[in-house]
Structures are given as structure tokens and as C-alpha cells.
């Protein structure tokens, strides 16, 4: 994946402290791995318990946004970046070569209205688009002062 794949609106202002990449088959039964990774990253970034739990749910919805709710042959690629004050996650669904482009629509959409409400409520910024024919979604959560440990 190129740097452009992971470049999302606003992330030029983040001065990355570290990052983690996760690649896994886009299958519903593996989504818990995404939540576990999000929790580990948020803990590592010294986010408080409430925000760790918020990120677990938000990342679940982000994954549903890009990979849908059914098992596919493609892969879900995630990049977690964190700074002193924020965590940013970018998720991309890569179709299997034999599968071809998965979505007819040009832009990934939240899985449903409830998913959109969850993301709106839990993260500071989020968005979705398409990069290189692959649905992509991203979110950014800034540290809340009350949760600094």
C-alpha cells in the first residue's frame, strides 16, 4: 500500500508517535481481533477506559463500513496511528483478485443509519471514500481531558 492509501483529510496535522498495521481476512468472526487491537492501541496511547471502550465500538463500525457484514475473500487492512492527543484509524477493504471490485457505489457508506449515529457520537471526525477502487473509511478520536490518566 502506498502512503497515499493512508493519507486521509486532516492527518497532515498529526505528528505520529507510533503506528500499528493490521491485515486480516474480511470475515465477521474475526472482527473481535480488530476491537482487541483498537483497545490495545488506545491503552498504549494512554487513553482512559471510557475512550478505549468508545474506540472499540467505533472501530467495529468502521470495519463494517468498509468490509460489510458478510464473509468475503478479500482482506481488511487497518492502520492505527497515535499521537500525544489523538488516535487515527484508516481501514481499507481489498477485494480478492478473483472477486473483482466489490461495491457498485463509488464511496463506502456506514453500514446502516445506526452505525452512522454511533460514529457521529463517539469520534471527533470520520469519513469514507474510495482509494484505488477499494472502499476506505477513517476516524479520528482526540483525547478527552477528563480521560487523561
Amino acid at each position: 500500500m502506498s502512503d497515499a492509501t493512508w493519507a486521509v483529510p486532516g492527518n497532515d496535522v498529526l505528528h505520529e508517535r507510533d503506528h500499528v498495521e493490521l491485515s486480516l481476512p474480511a470475515r465477521p468472526e474475526l472482527l473481535f481481533l480488530v476491537r482487541m487491537t483498537a483497545a490495545a492501541v488506545a491503552s498504549r496511547a494512554d487513553f482512559g477506559y471510557d475512550q478505549i471502550e468508545d474506540l472499540r465500538l467505533a472501530i467495529d463500525e468502521l470495519a463494517l463500513t468498509v468490509s460489510g457484514d458478510e464473509a468475503t475473500a478479500g482482506r481488511l487492512q487497518l492502520l492505527f496511528k497515535w499521537t500525544e492527543d489523538a488516535i487515527e484509524v484508516v481501514g481499507i477493504y481489498e477485494p480478492d483478485e478473483a472477486e473483482g471490485p466489490r461495491r457498485d457505489l463509488g464511496v463506502a457508506q456506514p453500514a446502516n443509519e445506526l452505525s452512522a449515529r454511533i460514529l457521529d457520537a463517539l469520534v471527533d471526525e470520520h469519513g469514507a471514500d474510495v482509494v484505488g477502487g477499494c472502499p476506505r473509511a477513517w476516524l479520528r478520536m482526540r483525547r478527552r481531558k477528563a480521560s487523561r490518566q
Binding site: 465477521p28 468472526e29 472482527l31 473481535f32 476491537r35 471502550e53 472499540r56 465500538l57 467495529d60 463500525e61 463494517l64 457484514d69 453500514a111 446502516n112 445506526l114 452505525s115 449515529r117 454511533i118 457520537a121 463517539l122
Partner: protein, 115 residues
Amino acid sequence: MATEVNFEVTESDRDGVPLLSVRGEVDVSTAPELRERLLALAEGGKTTAVVDLSEVSFVDSTALGVLVSGVKRLRSEGGDLRLVVTEPRISKVFEITGLTDVFKIYPSADEAVRA
């Protein structure tokens, strides 16, 4: 491959009201089982049921979608789907999605059954 997600649904009868007690994480991989259990109740002629989420540690939008489908189905039959929610984390998800205006939510299974 067996699911690694901690999840279980048990069904019991409480004073004639079916009670589904859910434990663990309800996400896109486990919500279909809850959907099947709710559908089975409706198809079995039950019009009112209680879903106890007090032992649930995680719900996502797919889980909420299953519950919304369930309440719509049972209300269309003249009944209702009542929820038991005790965990603040789970309450928060219902609040931010506006579903506290849709469901009748109780602090215990006993209160939900008696309602």
C-alpha cells in the same frame, strides 16, 4: 473455524413470558443467532418477550438492528419486546442511537416481566 467471540443465548420462561438471556459480545458474527432466536419466538406464536442484556459486554449496530427488527415484529402482532440493560456501556449505545425512545428498558428481568 469456530468463533472466538464469547457469546451465548439461553431461553427460559418467566411467568409465561419468554426470556432470552444473552451473554458476551453481540456483533456481526453473533447477532444472527439472536435474530434466529427472536424469529423462532415470533413464529412460535409469542407476541411479547424479554431480552436480558445484563450480561452483555458489547453491542454494535448489527445487534441493535436485530433488536429493532424484533420489536417491530412483535409489536405488529400486538405484543412487545422489552429489554433489560444494566451495564452503563450498553446503555450508552442505546442512548447515542436514540433507541431509548424505541425500547422499553428495565433494570431487571423481574421488572421487565411484570411490566
